[in-house]
């Protein structure tokens, strides 16, 4: 059936958030507000050692002195940080050995998301550390990983069981005073994942975590720390969906990656949080700090597919400290309706012969604003640094905007930097070509968008690529240019 533009627009407007449901699990929630007592209470609840409490308090004190950043090309009503509950954990915290023991309601939630834990387990061989409202409730495949010496657990567990590792690496890449949201996260982070790959080990499976924001009025402050020892390899997946909420929800996560000599980390994200309704009401605020540190010969590769959130503020970065290290950033950011995204990357070249690649694809539809903001910095000692950046934007309709803010700073004469950006729309002739061959307009757009994003989709691990492709289609349904 062929759609007219009007029909498509209408359908788009009425398109409900498919994953908007709310699981009723009793939660243990702290009162709203933020002060030193709350920070101490969070730390206590998690039975953390003193050094951790102190660390949080230091971050909190620094945060109090800081101001919310305003430089991003987004406008939103600032969240009231005293009107958020900073801790919410599912009440029962049983330890399961098999999935049968898991709360059936929880399993139901995941089924609705189309991510069945056991299915993933069987078919894809993925160990899933499910984070539901901040506390990890199910960890699978732990045994297999343990045999290799890989530690993959929640960060609170890691603080208990591997304090020396956490102490050594936490906050080394994203210092607790790094920026407003990172400081906030450092003070109040409730949980997250910790992953440690020992020397020379190649992680046999893709590690993944699914985040969900579930409890009404709770902010989510995830903390992820991935450490890859010398010569190791790990591919880490992160995917998110959130239930429909009217109130704006705040998400300020921090992800730190540490790739020691010759190690490689591949970090992929599919983000599909509730973007707000067609009037621009509600939706998740996503203010994330992600950064990786590369030692000698190490490689960090960020891949992200951003389709959700009302406001996205996210710059996965690489610090190429060691000689011959490599940083990569592949991104697709889709915005529709009133969504706003300001996303990009930072590549800081410090070591000699370092290389970085940036491929960013922005797709804007409806009345959304999509910005690429990136920094490529070559320091004076980074001999022979090489960068290639490409930012392509696709506009659908004339009510949306696409922006590019690339910062390029070179202090070394041997640096070779290339930056390219283009802006285009879906060609009428391309649609006509598809229509002529019996492909309706909507499918044609999905096809063209998929083609446009292929370079990035290709970088995703298989099982994620399929999901991401589906997401792209859902988010753009009906937005004919």
């Amino acid at each position: 059936m062929a759609y007219t533009e009007e029909e498509l627009k209408k359908e788009l407007e009425t398109k409900e958030y498919e994953y908007g449901f709310y699981t009723d699990i009793e939660s243990d929630t702290l009162p709203k507000g933020l002060n030193e007592e709350i920070v101490i209470a969070i730390s206590k609840k998690k039975e953390e050692p003193d050094w951790m409490t102190e660390w949080r308090l230091e971050a909190f004190r620094a945060w109090q002195e800081m101001e919310e950043p305003e430089w991003a090309n987004v406008t939103y009503k600032k969240p009231d940080f005293q009107d958020i509950s900073y801790y919410s954990a599912p009440n029962k915290k049983p330890k399961y050995n098999s999935l049968d023991e898991v709360d059936p309601e929880l399993l139901e939630t995941f089924k609705k998301l189309g991510i069945s834990v056991d299915e993933q387990k069987k078919l894809a061989g993925v160990a899933v550390d499910i984070v539901m409202d901040s506390v990890s409730v199910a960890t699978t495949f732990k045994k297999t990983l343990a045999e290799k010496g890989i530690i993959f657990c929640s960060i609170s567990e890691a603080i208990q069981e591997h304090p020396e590792l956490v102490k050594k690496y936490l906050g080394t890449v994203v210092p607790k005073k790094d920026n407003f949201y990172a400081a906030l996260n450092s003070a109040v982070f409730s949980d997250g994942s910790f992953c440690y790959i020992p020397k020379g080990v190649r992680c046999p499976m893709e590690l993944s975590t699914y985040f969900r924001i579930n409890q009404a009025g709770t902010g989510q402050f995830e903390r992820t720390l991935v450490v890859a020892e010398e010569g190791s390899y790990v591919s880490y997946l992160e995917g998110c969906t959130a239930p429909m909420r009217d109130e704006n929800q705040l998400h300020a996560a921090v992800v730190e990656l540490i790739a020691l000599d010759d190690a490689e980390i591949k970090y992929s994200t599919v983000q599909n949080w509730y973007p707000g309704n067609d009037q621009g009401k509600g939706g998740v605020f996503n203010f994330v700090t992600k950064r990786g540190l590369c030692e000698k010969n190490a490689k960090i590769s960020w891949t992200q597919v951003e389709t959700g959130s009302a406001v996205t503020w996210k710059y996965p970065s690489c610090i190429l400290k060691g000689d011959h290290s490599i940083g990569e950033f592949y991104s697709i950011a889709v915005t529709n309706n009133f969504q706003q995204a300001d996303t990009g990357t930072k590549m800081v070249h410090l070591g000699k012969n370092t290389k970085s690649t940036i491929i960013s694809k922005g797709i804007s539809a409806g009345q959304s604003q999509n910005s690429y903001r990136g920094l490529v910095q070559v320091n004076s000692r980074a001999e022979n640094a090489r960068n290639f950046s490409q930012c392509d934007s696709l506009l659908m309709g004339n009510r949306c905007g696409a922006h590019t803010f690339p910062y390029i700073e070179a202090k070394n004469k041997t640096a070779q930097i290339e930056h390219e950006a283009t802006t285009s729309k879906i060609g009428e002739d391309q649609i006509f070509y598809c229509n002529q061959r019996g492909i309706d307009t909507e499918k044609a757009i999905a096809l063209i968008v998929n083609g446009f994003s292929k370079e990035v989709l290709n970088k995703l691990p298989m099982e994620f690529a399929v999901e991401a492709q589906k997401l792209l289609e859902i988010s753009l349904e009906g937005s004919v240019g």
Binding site: F405, I408, E418, A421, T422, G481
Partner: protein, 438 residues
């Protein structure tokens, strides 16, 4: 007393000598208020992230030169493009030099802002155009507006074209230990008019000079304006050059900026397209050494459909020099079928040189062709080898490659003598003699 306070307090003295009932005066006082509130931009302002004016603010600049100085033409001849006949508007320490100038009122008006402000016959043009394109928000532009008194006034009526190109030359004699100049130029080319202008700021001694210049250019329907900025000043001269260009339907405005010398140069080049089928060209060659600093800030605002803009900036940075390029293209919702192109290529020659580039796009229309490219690299070693294997010494080979790199921009200079002159400046800078014309 810092520079801001000094400027604010001397504004009153400046007002004394003026006709306070003149309509322009209100603009001046408003601008002064804006400057008073905003002050000099700092590195905290996004637009001045890479360029600091702090050093300049510590210098005790004299704001009104004490006495007039006469110069002999032969002493300053080399700063003129003397190979061809031109109209000349010359200022010495900010004061008009009738002796060195050649103005006209024959069909076109090529004269002074001071007479345009005072004579009733120009009143209408001043009312329609003065301060209409310049920003009322930007603090340095406001500062200039507040002190606007002298500069070049060029008015080309409908269907006219001056017989020869126009040179605007600002000379600083060095009679003052440190001098601040604030020339204000107004250039109006009415419908279907055409004009070629060359502008140069030149300091004659090693004394400190700080020029904060504002030029407004208005191009009527189908008008053609070619504007060349030659910036090859002494290493003690700083320049903030604010240019605002407002274009009407089917007009063509081309601005070439050659930044080859000076201590600190900041070019704010702003194009506003207020009609369809407009063509705007912004090109620049920057070759720097020592501790020089050049900052190119360009803005092209596409506000109407079917327009084009072309930007091409080439930079070569040696020693401890710093280059900044910030190019911004804004495409409004209604500006469909816009074709905007922006390119910035840079070569770093030394380990101490720095380049900061920020090519920026802000696009609100969907049916547009916008692209930008930015590269930072070095001279091609293979090309170098090729030349040297054919017996060309290293220095010359390097110069040749640099020429080739900058040639795209030079090619579009439409006054051959000017092109030759710039080639010569570049050759001098590179310390080579070129046996041919490029």
């Amino acid at each position: 007393m810092d520079l801001k306070e000094k400027l604010v307090s001397s504004f009153m003295a400046f007002e004394d000598g003026l006709d306070l009932d003149h309509p322009v005066h209100e603009e001046r006082s408003n601008a002064m208020k804006n400057f008073e509130t905003k002050g000099f931009p700092t590195k905290k302002d996004e637009a001045w992230k890479y360029t600091s004016l702090r050093g300049l603010q510590k210098v005790d600049f004299s704001i009104f030169p004490k006495h007039e100085t006469t110069l002999e033409y032969k002493d300053v001849k080399k700063y003129f493009l003397h190979e061809i006949d031109t109209y000349k508007i010359v200022f010495v320490d900010g004061v008009y030099s009738s002796y060195l100038s050649e103005t006209t009122h024959d069909g076109v008006d090529i004269c002074l802002m001071s007479s345009a402000f005072s004579k009733p016959m120009f009143q209408q043009v001043i009312e329609v155009y003065f301060n209409k394109a310049a920003s009322k928000d930007e603090s340095l532009t406001s500062l200039n507006t507040a002190f606007s008194k002298e500069g070049a006034y060029i008015y080309i009526p409908k269907n006219k074209m001056p017989k020869k190109p126009i040179q605007i030359l600002h000379l600083a004699t060095g009679n003052e230990a440190a001098l601040m100049l604030q020339p204000r130029n107004l250039i109006v080319a009415e419908d279907n008019a055409e004009v070629q202008i060359i502008e140069r700021h030149q300091s004659l001694t090693g004394n400190e000079v700080f020029t904060n210049s504002v030029t407004e250019i208005f191009a009527g329907k189908d008008a053609i304006v070619d504007y060349y900025k030659v910036q090859n000043d002494e290493p003690t001269a700083s320049l903030v050059d604010n240019t605002y260009i407002s274009q009407k339907r089917s007009s063509v405005v081309r601005v070439h900026t050659f930044s080859l010398g000076g201590k600190l140069i900041r070019n704010n080049l702003n194009f506003y397209q207020n009609g369809e089928r407009i063509d705007s060209t912004l090109k620049g060659v920057t070759i720097l050494g020592d501790k020089q600093h050049v900052d190119h800030h360009t803005l092209v605002h596409h506000a109407q459909p079917n327009c084009e803009s072309h930007q091409d900036y080439k930079g070569i940075f040696g020693d401890s020099s710093t280059g900044v390029f910030n190019g911004k293209i804004i495409v409004d919702k209604i500006a469909q079928k816009t074709d905007a192109f922006q390119q910035n290529n840079n070569i770093l020659l030394s380990d101490r040189s720095t380049i900061n580039s920020k090519p920026q796009l802000e696009i609100f229309a969907d049916d547009v062709k916008c692209s930008h490219g930015c590269t930072i690299g070095q001279l091609d070693e293979e090309a170098m080898f090729y030349l040297r294997s054919r017996g060309i010494p290293k220095k010359e080979a390097k110069a040749l490659l640099m020429y080739a790199f900058a040639n795209n921009v030079l090619e579009s200079v439409r006054i051959p003598e000017l092109k030759a002159r710039i080639n010569k400046i570049i050759a001098d800078k590179l310390g080579v003699r070129m046996g041919f014309d490029l």
